[in-house]
């Protein structure tokens, strides 16, 4: 298997010799080899329960490059491979409209980077040595950057891409800092070193050292994952990227940040209360902030990007619950928290990639992502509408789909927590329940808006009116996640047991069979099945009854008046969220214009109205810092005169200074 991985890596560099269409199939073959080999290793680890440790290269920068797959890595490997598979199938037809305008090199570069991203993500979860891990991490950022700027002829997209790249490197800096600190304390550069951190160091600002080390890593990984307030790259990068890339990035790449956080937490020798509370609170903020911002968006993919932030929040809430459970020595709560978080990672990778695929299908057929220009697409694109609906119900956490299952597990953990004694712990738990309920409700609201405006009603533009259904290969790519969404919804207990087998490593003494929730999950599955069956049954009955009756199709607001315009008489994305916007104003910066009427205006002239909102964190927190830095950078730019004489002068001055300093014995 190791040879396969290496050979595939080397072969991928030959993509550039192929033509536009050949390069797709070439990379597909290589991907296939990669998927099969790594999934084989992962499944082996999951079944046998033994870690897979093997030396890939004996001398890699003076270290042996060792891949190590434990159950957690295996779990992530399977998700990565599945999402890449559906994403790559989707890519073929999605990129078809670009065949004319882009060169063969552009296509080869895109597919090559797709392969590299997949490869890098697999290595991120398989490596535990610090230097190699950081290299894989960097490869992941670079390849995803090149994927995002596929449409690089548009200036906006280059700008967004660079924003993304810069933020990723800020995160990278924190990761390096984190590993260096661990190295300085323990003498081991990598995840293994974290295990040797011992609680002997003094408190810093009243909090244990472990907490501060965790914070450094959390910032590094959190930028990738999109935790509040480090999320500001996410809502820009996802709309800019091609949809299969958005699906892959949102579905699994941001989970690499979560993976890092989980790995750090699993390796820390002792978890503190401060870490648990920190994760829980910041995740609650992330979740609520993400969903509140999502509701007011007009851009379909931007809306989905904010939902990624929200779901990262839910995963974080699960992790926070897990840590708190461990700190308070409540294994049941800890297991429920961790299991909920891990299952939500899987679930989110399924429904978020599905939603992005569906949004991408809408985009390639209508050439717009603006919600106010779409509408009525369920008749033109029934399958896409169906796929989006499934994704929307799943992400809102409504049974009988998978999103409910993971949230149910986390909820149960919180309810168990309330029963415990004390004041602080139950208060935290109640706070968590409230936050989850708020997030769930708002998510439902948001997807009612998204689905209603895009797919129901009447078309709001010519493009939406003339849309047609997407190609079969895209539909197939959408069916893959739909299949698992329904399966997890109907047979949740098997997936819960699967997640538990991963957690067995962490809680060796805990008996997973005694969890009352397995029984609950069994029932939820049964009820889901009953629900499906009875909906089908009643639909058939209704069909039979209506068969013999008169059925008429007529215009809405018709009433004998033929000039009614159903387009303007419907809710749009702005009006649906208008009331909510008034309540949620503190979360974002509202740049909407207002309509005013003057006193003497008897016959109102035609007016226009624009709604636009900006992310407050970005506007008030990141932009001022960036502008300040730019201000000083510009001052340094005085040196950049453009004259070659000056540039020769600088090294000369440098040499003179060096000589003088050496003579004076200063350096």
């Amino acid at each position: 298997m190791n040879t396969v991985i290496l050979v595939v890596f080397v072969l991928s560099w030959f993509t550039f010799v192929f033509s536009k269409k050949q390069s797709y199939w070439y990379i597909f073959l290589l991907e296939l080899a990669l998927w099969i080999s790594t999934s084989y290793l992962a499944i082996n680890v999951l079944i046998s329960g033994n870690e897979y440790v093997s030396e890939l290269i004996s001398n890699f920068y003076f270290h042996p490059l060792i891949i190590k797959i434990d159950k957690l890595s295996a779990f992530f490997i399977l998700i990565i491979n599945f999402t890449s598979l559906s994403s790559f199938i989707y890519a073929k037809q999605y990129l078809a409209p670009y065949l004319k305008e882009k060169s063969a090199f552009n296509f080869a570069l895109h597919y090559f980077n797709f392969f590299m991203l997949n490869f890098a993500m697999l290595f991120v979860v398989m490596l535990s040595d610090g230097i190699a891990f950081l290299l894989a991490w960097e490869l992941m950022s670079l390849s995803s950057f090149l994927l995002v700027i596929f449409e690089s002829n548009k200036p906006d997209i280059i700008k967004t891409g660079i924003k993304y790249l810069v933020q990723m490197h800020v995160g990278y800096l924190f990761l390096v800092a984190g590993f260096v600190i661990v190295y300085a304390v323990t003498g081991d550069f990598g995840f293994e070193g974290i295990k040797h951190l011992v609680e002997k160091t003094p408190l810093i600002v009243g909090l244990p050292t472990n907490f501060w080390i965790f914070i450094v890593f959390f910032i590094g990984f959190g930028i990738k994952a999109g935790f509040f307030p480090l999320h500001s790259w996410l809502p820009h990068a996802h709309p800019a990227a091609p949809s299969h890339v958005s699906g892959l990035m949102s579905g699994i790449m941001i989970k690499m940040g979560i993976y890092g956080i989980i790995r750090i937490l699993f390796n820390l020798p002792e978890l503190n209360l401060s870490i648990g509370i920190f994760i829980l609170l910041i995740s609650i903020f992330t979740g609520v902030f993400g969903v509140m911002s999502a509701i007011v968006q007009h851009d379909l993919k931007k809306l989905l990007a904010f939902h990624s932030i929200e779901n990262i929040g839910i995963i974080g809430i699960g992790i926070g619950l897990g840590v708190l459970g461990e700190v308070y020595h409540q294994p049941v709560i800890a297991v429920l928290g961790w299991a909920g978080a891990l299952l939500h990672i899987l679930n989110h990778s399924l429904f978020k990639s599905l939603l992005f695929y569906a949004a991408g299908s809408v985009y390639i057929k209508t050439h717009t992502r603006n919600l106010n220009k779409l509408g009525g697409l369920i008749k033109k694109m029934p399958f896409t509408a169906f796929a989006f609906l499934i994704g929307a119900i799943a992400i809102s956490g409504i049974p009988p789909f998978n999103g409910f299952i993971s949230e149910f597990i986390i909820y149960n953990g919180f309810f168990d927590g309330i029963k415990q004694g004390g004041l602080a712990f139950p208060m935290l738990m109640m706070f968590g329940i409230l936050a989850l309920a708020l997030i769930g409700g708002l998510a439902m609201f948001c997807f009612t808006k998204a689905f209603g405006v895009v797919f129901l009603g009447t078309a709001r533009s010519k493009e939406a009116e003339h849309a047609v259904e997407v190609a079969p290969s895209i539909r197939f790519a959408e069916i893959l996640p739909i299949f698992w969404i329904i399966i997890i919804g109907v047979l949740p207990v098997y997936f819960f047991n699967f997640i538990n087998s991963i957690l067995q490593e962490r809680f060796p003494l805990f008996e997973f069979k005694q969890l009352a929730i397995s029984n609950s999950l069994k029932w939820i599955g049964i009820i889901g099945a009953i629900l499906w069956l009875s909906i089908w049954l009643f639909y058939v009955i209704r069909k039979l009854i209506l068969k013999r009756k008169k059925v008429i199709y007529a215009d809405t607001w018709g009433c004998g008046y033929t000039a009614a315009n159903p387009v303007t008489n419907q809710y749009n994305a702005s009006s649906f969220a208008a009331n909510f916007k008034r309540i949620a104003n503190p979360v974002f910066v509202d740049l909407s214009s207002e309509i005013t009427y003057e006193d003497k205006e008897v016959f109102p002239v035609k007016k226009s109205y624009k709604t636009h909102v900006e992310d407050k964190v970005e506007f008030k927190f990141i932009m001022p810092i960036a502008n300040n830095i730019l201000h000083y950078v510009k001052k340094i730019a005085v040196l950049q005169t453009g004259k070659i004489q000056d540039y020769i002068l600088y090294p000369l001055l440098f040499i003179i200074i060096m000589i003088v300093l050496t003579v004076l014995n200063i350096i």
Binding site: I378, P399, A516, S520, R542, K549, I552
Partner: protein
């Protein structure tokens, strides 16, 4: 099981009883207690008009709504002696959703 049957029974007669009581209070004679059910049977004999703006969702949602109500009924216990038809830890979360 008891609660399930009881709820179904109430659903059949309660709207009628309410209408009848209201009628009595305002001095009218009022329709039969089973009047809502006569209405339903009458409605079953009629055809449908769909707007061209609407889609399959419009036709599916009443069915889904009805099915979910029926399933939700299975979760409601009746007093201490008669537990709900389906009950497990955390069942009320499913009920709420």
């Amino acid at each position: 099981m008891v609660s399930f049957l009881l709820i179904l029974f109430c659903a059949i007669v309660f709207p009628g009883i309410i209408a009848k009581t209201k009628a009595k209070f305002s001095g009218r004679k009022g329709a039969s207690i089973l009047q809502p059910w006569f209405d339903i049977f009458k409605l079953f004999k009629k055809g449908s008009i769909f707007s061209t703006t609407t889609s399959i969702i419009f036709q599916l949602s009443p069915i889904i709504n009805f099915v979910i109500l029926i399933i939700a009924v299975l979760f409601i216990p009746f007093g201490n002696k008669f537990p709900a038809f389906i009950h497990f830890q955390g069942d009320f979360l499913l009920f709420i959703c």
